[in-house]
Symmetry: C2
Subunit: 178 residues, 2 copies
Amino acid sequence: MARKSFPLSKVYGLLEPGPVVLVTTARKGRANIMTMSWHTMMEFEPPLVGCVISNRNHSFGMLKATGECVINIPTVELAAQVAACGNTSGRTLDKFRAFGLTPAAASRVKAPLIDECYAALECKVADAKLVAKYCFFILEVVKAWIDPARKNPRTLHHLGKGAFMVAGRTIKLRSRAK
Amino acid sequence: MARKSFPLSKVYGLLEPGPVVLVTTARKGRANIMTMSWHTMMEFEPPLVGCVISNRNHSFGMLKATGECVINIPTVELAAQVAACGNTSGRTLDKFRAFGLTPAAASRVKAPLIDECYAALECKVADAKLVAKYCFFILEVVKAWIDPARKNPRTLHHLGKGAFMVAGRTIKLRSRAK
């Protein structure tokens, strides 16, 4: 490769392109939605997901107080809503109503599913040891939902500053990986 | 959405599609390469990356002993090598030689860059508190490299069991996100 030094401040744009997700929380009769890209699997089963939710976000306090959330996975059809949820705060806005998203009851947690998303993962906080230092929550997925009718979901993958890569074609390689 | 219960054991395939990366380590004159999908950004600057490296992998001991690695980001042209690095162990194989990859000297760490990758992040372990329980390392990126000639890199995103999504088109949304 021809090599050029790359600014450390932009590194996140290289590594974060996992699927953008919409995290829902609920407390005292009010639900919120947050757009999130900083998450990773940590264990296969029970599935553990590590994620960073900034303490500047309204969802941080909701998640800390309730210990519950839903990770909803949107596709490109919801791109406008994904951006809008990221641009606004649940402190002053009912994002479900404002952006035409439909809450649906979850089975194991009080936070709602987003009906328009193709998959949803009901989660409980499993380990909060790194919350104080890194705002890093370890969540256990206790129930997972998928829309069986949706093949090849075109997930969104944030590249930084509002640019999103849309999931492309799938290839199959001989692999021993899970 | 039409809703079908989804096996908890397959949840990782929904969430892990961040870019597959090749992690290099070096110790006592020997270098190794590991294929990894379980990583997340944790801080913008200095960039912190959290990642899970199983203690069954040869790279786990190398990283723990040296505190250094390089996260190399491959594109679809390297798909065969990405799979091959994931299917084999550095305990018994020199993966650079076996798979025709070229080591190049890094600037801040002893682990090598992979010359064929379009980006490379030199990392030092910043926090090992969750290594014992989750094999979770928090890395600080101390130097980042990118190939300025490579536009729209077609990164690979593992979907489970050797299926990889190839990065598709990019869309731009009005966003306040970094």
